[in-house]
């Protein structure tokens, strides 16, 4: 009877999911309520978790709770510690949830709500969650080894080298592009700039509090820090209207970019406890709180989606970024569907905390489903805005026209009515001078979130608070990624340079710290400035580069995962990882090829350089030509890296399947678990 009921319940879930997906895909010409998207997503996640991940866990991985995990075998009270599965789940989710799942879907909303929705839902259940799950499993079975170590062992030195180089390249592009998102969100916004500037002394106060006044009270100081940040949002409105202070905090794109570069350098070179760590604690809690609030908000408000299912921009003429729906939708939305960066987390801290092998499934597969849900919420928030407003905020002046009247006329001519008066009224409501040309996704996401939050708590009068709260939230954790990323990049560079001259590898030697910090900051700072100067808004060139790089890392992770599955089962289950791998390789190759060689100047870097060469030559034009060629080279490097790791992996797979190569397992030998349930408090 119980089994019958369970079967009936799962049939209902599957039917509801299929019905909602069909509704989302087929409804045309009338606003679709976001409840359809949420139902389609949640039912698909539930079914995929219950059946697909269970199949992988039982048949492919043969997860075994009798086997001691590295957390138990290598327990040291620091990294290796058997931990309650929900605590590991929270830890892992907090580590994988960055700005990507919020910004990517917002930008991809230019294609309409349908492509992003389908890619987020299908991409995660068949690709992203599978990647995280298999890599976490592989790392747990290999004493918590990193992706690079596993690539080197399972595939060879080339794979390991590529993984390391890819991570460094992605970091540089990632830091530049998210830096650009912050710059565009704060440009000409004294309120936002003051709030974000205020988080720096607040973080220093928190650092001192934690180190000297109340050591170890992280939750306590984070609560104080949060209250101070909220107070700074209120103070920001006063500053914005102040005759003297207002102009101080009204900065242009270049000034903000330089401030960000100086900040990144300082955060990388300063003691970590003073600025970086307290900000990181604060931003983690704010991030989790706001994501929860956004999820609840969408479920309670259930806004209608104003954006059509598909826009005319699927043909590649989109104003936010150029390029057809294939491959650019799948590159723009990486985190939320599949993100190579997650493989680094799944082979980092998390495997060292897993107490039992059965916990790998909820942590690896389950937390990625939750991240995908966050991406869905971001898509809903963006698509709930009027399309005219959405495009007015996200389109660069180089595309829609340099004046509000011209921009409004261009956007209205696309079939998305908007007026300068409407935009100016909206800007006034949220306490901004203007909302035109605020590219990067953060301001439109903040607008969408503010509308949802203000319908739950408050009304139009508090819209301005919620808008700046959302901007603060986005900028706070983007800046945390920037300062932590710069520091990590510095360590990686020091590690590399240490092979050339030993003192450069010493992380405590100040000249090396200052030099390598400067090199890393200069690398991402160059791309950031390039984005600020780009007349097409910067996002058009940088976000696809980041997407390609991130998907490339996912391809590396899936190559490692496939090699491990082939060593375990031969060809029987290799489809589990080769299907998403084949898709990613196709997408990455198509995307990178088009970004280099497309004859459309807005898509192809070389075509853009040729177009600029044909015009009048100024110093700025020459710089733009060089930048486009540099981007083409970076894209070319990504292509070569994908090809190299793929060829190397196929060589290994063919050898194992033909029997000419030993399928050597690098798994740690079986050791029986002695762990008691009460040890996992």
């Amino acid at each position: 009877m119980g089994k019958l009921l369970r079967t009936g319940a799962w049939i209902l879930v599957a039917a509801a999911g299929a019905f909602a997906l069909a509704g989302v895909a087929l409804k045309r010409g009338e606003p679709v309520n976001s409840a359809w998207l949420v139902t389609a997503a949640v039912c698909t996640y539930l079914a995929a978790y219950r059946f697909y991940s269970a199949f992988i866990a039982a048949k492919v991985m043969a997860l075994d709770d009798r086997r001691a995990t590295p957390a138990e075998r290598l327990r040291n009270g620091h990294d290796f510690e058997p931990t309650n599965k929900w605590i590991v789940f929270g830890h892992h989710f907090a580590a994988i949830a960055g700005p990507g799942p919020l910004v990517g879907p917002t930008l991809a909303a230019q294609f309409g709500y349908l492509p992003g929705t389908l890619w987020i839902i299908l991409g995660v259940v068949l690709g992203g969650a599978v990647q995280d799950f298999v890599i976490l499993f592989a790392s747990v079975r290999r004493d918590g080894k990193s992706l690079g170590q596993m690539a080197r062992e399972e595939i060879g030195r080339i794979g390991g080298g590529i993984a390391l180089l890819t991570v460094l390249l992605i970091m540089i592009i990632l830091l530049a592009v998210i830096g650009l998102v912050v710059v565009n969100a704060l440009k000409g916004s004294p309120w936002g700039t003051f709030t974000i500037a205020a988080t720096m002394p607040i973080a220093v106060f928190m650092g001192l509090y934690l180190r000297y006044w109340r050591p170890g009270r992280v939750l306590e100081v984070s609560l104080i820090g949060f209250l101070l940040v909220v107070a700074s949002i209120f103070a920001g409105e006063w500053v914005a209207h102040h005759a003297v202070l207002g102009p101080w905090f009204t900065l242009g794109g270049m000034a903000l970019a330089i401030a960000l570069i100086i900040y990144g350098y300082a955060a990388s070179a300063l003691p970590v406890w003073l600025l970086l760590a307290p900000r990181d604690y604060l931003s983690t809690f704010v991030k989790l709180g706001v994501v929860l609030l956004l999820g609840l908000g969408v479920l309670i408000v259930r806004p209608d989606l104003q954006m059509p299912a598909l826009t005319q921009f699927t043909d590649g003429t989109g104003p936010i970024f150029a390029g057809k729906i294939f491959p650019f939708c799948f590159i723009t939305i990486a985190c939320g569907a599949i993100s190579g960066f997650h493989a680094l987390i799944s082979s980092g801290t998390t495997p060292k905390l897993i107490a039992r092998e059965s916990h790998i499934r909820p942590v690896g597969y389950g937390s990625m489903l939750l991240e995908s849900f966050v991406a869905m919420m971001a898509l809903v928030a963006a698509c709930a805005l009027e399309p005219g407003v959405f495009f007015a905020v996200n389109s660069p002046a180089g595309i829609v026209g340099a004046t509000p009247a011209a921009a409004a006329a261009t956007i209205t001519s696309w079939g998305f009515p908007v007026t300068p008066q409407q935009m100016s009224e909206l800007a006034r409501h949220v306490g901004e001078e203007t909302l035109f040309y605020r590219t990067g996704g953060a301001p439109s996401l903040a607008l969408g979130m503010a509308h949802i939050f203000s319908r739950i708590a408050g009304n139009e009068a508090v819209l301005r608070f919620w808008y700046h709260f959302a901007i603060m939230f986005e900028a706070l954790f983007i800046l945390t990624v920037i300062d932590a990323g710069t520091r990590v990049g510095r360590f990686m560079l020091q590690d590399f340079l240490g092979h050339i001259w030993k003192p450069l590898g010493r992380t405590s030697w100040m000249p090396s710290v200052l030099l390598t910090s400067a090199l890393i900051v200069a690398a991402w700072g160059y791309f950031l400035v390039q984005g600020v100067l780009d007349p097409l808004g910067g996002i058009n060139s940088l976000w696809p580069l980041f997407g390609i790089a991130n998907q490339l890392l996912a391809a590396v992770a899936l190559c490692v995962a496939t090699t491990i599955l082939i060593k375990m089962h031969g060809a029987k289950y290799m489809w589990i990882t080769t299907i998403p791998l084949a898709w990613l390789v196709t997408v990455t190759f198509a995307g990178a090829w088009q970004k280099i060689f497309s004859s459309a100047p807005r898509v192809g870097f070389l075509a853009q350089a040729r177009l600029l060469e044909a015009g009048p030559q100024t110093a700025q034009t020459k710089q733009l030509i060089f930048n486009n060629r540099l981007d083409a080279v970076v894209c070319g490097i990504f292509l070569v890296l994908v090809a190299a790791i793929l060829a190397d992996s196929i060589r290994v797979w063919a050898g194992i399947l033909r029997g000419t190569r030993e399928a050597r397992s690098f798994e740690a030998p079986f050791a029986p678990s002695q762990l008691e349930a009460e040890e996992l408090g």
């Binding site: 510690e81 929900w86 180190r211 000297y212 170890g216 760590a277 983690t284 990486a334 980092g348 990323g485």
Partner: protein, 59 residues
């Protein structure tokens, strides 16, 4: 129901304390048989943060 809620809050607080490194600090004190103090926190925190910020961050 109350029990379920209590368990939920207990787990939620544990997640927050894990994210805040407070649980890791407790483990450190237990592992080394030491009492909490400002000096001990600084020693623990320096090592913890050094390791934490050598690992790539997710996007």
């Amino acid at each position: 129901m109350t029990r379920a809620w209590r368990r939920f809050w207990h787990t939620l607080l544990a997640v927050l304390r894990e994210l805040a490194d407070e649980r890791a600090y407790q483990r450190h004190l237990r592992a080394h048989g030491r009492a909490p103090s400002g000096e001990e926190w600084r020693r623990f925190s320096e090592e913890r943060l050094r390791q934490k910020y050598q690992r790539p961050r997710c996007c």
